[in-house]
């Protein structure tokens, strides 16, 4: 499958308002959050959840006029799916790369130093690992929500998508929680479960995307 730059640009243009808002919020969050970041920061979790839902919802509106247009241009379903996934990944980096650079290159530390933040000494040492963990959150949520919207546009819709979403939402925290102070083996087990879940949603979404219905 060759890259079609125009198609990627089309999807990114659809996502532009969401990504612009997400980038602004993430930069402000990283600059102004007064405590040091941990992997389980509640605000980051809510942000990632909302951003993931927004990305997948926008890319899943296959029955809107503009998506009906792009789906009937002559791109195969596999090419469309691939570019939607690429657009999702780019969106994550658009939202978080500036924020990560601010952490990694010391912009956040400098500002917090100016604010005389008492947590400053442990910020730089710990916070980059939190950012990596947040990206892992996207890796779980994006395939799952993409799958839900793809499932919703199938010719034979059922309540199965809701059930699968529930299962996914159960496994998401299950996979994330043990990364705290649990036994090393549990990290491996839940990491494996998360990998299986990501692979299952990705492959299922890819296959079902071939049969979704664009027109009502």
């Amino acid at each position: 499958m060759k890259m079609k730059s125009s198609l990627l640009v089309f999807f990114l243009r659809c996502l532009w308002p969401v990504n612009a808002a997400a980038m602004s919020v993430s930069i402000l969050f990283v600059l102004l959050y007064p405590k040091y970041f941990l992997w389980n920061n509640a605000w980051a979790a809510v942000f990632i959840l909302i951003h993931s839902v927004a990305i997948t919802f926008i890319l899943g509106r296959v029955r809107s006029r503009s998506f009906a247009f792009i789906y009937t241009r002559g791109f195969s379903r596999d090419v469309l799916w691939l570019h939607k996934m690429l657009a999702s990944v780019v969106s994550v980096f658009v939202a978080w790369l500036p924020a990560a650079l601010l952490i990694g290159l010391g912009g956040r530390s400098a500002l917090q130093d100016w604010f005389r933040n008492p947590y400053l000494p442990i910020m730089a040492a710990r916070e980059m690992s939190a950012v990596w963990f947040w990206l892992f959150g996207y890796a779980i949520l994006l395939p799952m929500f993409h799958y839900v919207w793809i499932r919703k546009a199938q010719p034979t819709r059922s309540s199965g998508s809701g059930m699968l979403l529930s299962v996914g939402l159960f496994f998401t925290p299950s996979a994330l929680v043990p990364f705290g102070n649990h036994a090393p083996w549990s990290v491996m087990v839940y990491g494996l479960l998360a990998a299986v879940m990501i692979a299952t949603y990705t492959i299922s979404g890819f296959l079902l995307h071939r049969t979704l219905e664009v027109q009502k």
Binding site: M1, F10, R13, F69, G74, T156, E213
Partner: protein
């Protein structure tokens, strides 16, 4: 060797308990312009969506260029051009960007598309959303006509265009079909315009194909009889052989097969003329009062 590039076999589609399309069988060949006619809700758009693989059939199936519509590989999808009624590019795009998008799919003749755009003196750098309804249709038609596609499907392409533009659109479509040896299927309610370029006619009603016939054959076989109010209606016009009839100002129009008419005994005031497509469509789809039209297909 058959030139059939689009086929449908027992193609049906339900929306819940409503059957939108029922047992459609079609074989469409290269080098033809097909007029797809029917009242609102007849199943025209559903048929097009099924043929291009955007909908799953409830029963039966269809093939384009030898591949099942629902499993079209990239090599085939790039050879199909579709202009639908319910889709539109985002308003921020301009014509140049849309042409670039199309050119990434299949061989695209930018000059032909640009020349078509220039007929209406449309600025290719102006955002799509700032054009009028008719101009938007024109730009989308330029995308279709610029492509070197083998199969073209258009759903109400002339809606919103002025009469002169409609004629030019269909002239260019005819040229595309001739130059590229392609097939064009055009669903429309504006029958007089498509009649000038159509080779075949498909009339749908309530999801069923009532007629699929060469336009030339229809013109040869069917006549329109006008009986003024002052004249007695001939007996043959009242028979079950009559395709349809319509009371109009000053008399009644009857449509029937030429070989069922006894023209020798007609009064001078009664006129007979070859049927035009719109009159034929009305006789079959709107004012039909017999099943005799089915004989035309035989």
């Amino acid at each position: 060797m058959s030139d059939a590039i689009v086929t449908a076999t027992h193609l049906s589609r339900d929306y819940g308990r409503f059957r939108a399309l029922s047992d459609v069988n079609l074989t469409l060949e290269r080098g033809r312009v097909i007029a797809l006619l029917g009242p609102n809700g007849a199943g025209k758009s559903t048929l097009l969506h099924l043929l291009i693989g955007q909908l799953e059939p409830t029963a039966g199936g269809s093939h384009i260029l030898g591949h099942p519509s629902r499993r079209l590989p990239q090599a085939i999808t790039g050879r199909i051009a579709y202009m639908g009624d319910g889709e539109e590019p985002p308003g921020g795009y301009n014509a140049r960007q849309l042409f670039q998008l199309q050119s990434q799919l299949s061989p695209f003749n930018s000059k032909r598309a640009g020349d078509f755009l220039a007929i209406q003196k449309l600025d290719p750098r102006k955002p799509f959303g700032e054009f009028s309804k008719g101009q938007k249709k024109w730009i989308r038609a330029a995308m279709i006509l610029g492509s070197e596609s083998d199969v073209i499907f258009m759903d109400e392409p002339a809606e919103g265009l002025d009469p002169a533009s409609r004629i030019k659109l269909y002239e260019h479509l005819r040229r595309h079909v001739s130059d590229c040896d392609s097939l064009a299927v055009v669903a429309t309610h504006i029958i007089n315009d498509i009649e000038t370029v159509a080779d075949e006619v498909i009339i749908l009603k309530r999801g069923k194909v009532l007629v699929h016939e060469d336009l030339e054959d229809i013109r040869e076989q069917v006549r329109e009889l006008f009986v003024p109010e002052t004249e007695r209606v001939p007996d043959f016009a009242l028979s079950a052989e009559t395709l349809g009839s319509q009371a109009v100002s000053g008399g009644t129009r009857f449509w029937m097969k030429a070989d069922k008419m006894d023209t020798a005994s007609l009064a001078a005031a009664i006129t007979v003329r070859p049927v035009n497509l719109e009159a034929f469509y009305l006789s079959v789809a709107e004012y039909n009062h017999s099943q005799a039209h089915r004989e035309i297909q035989k």
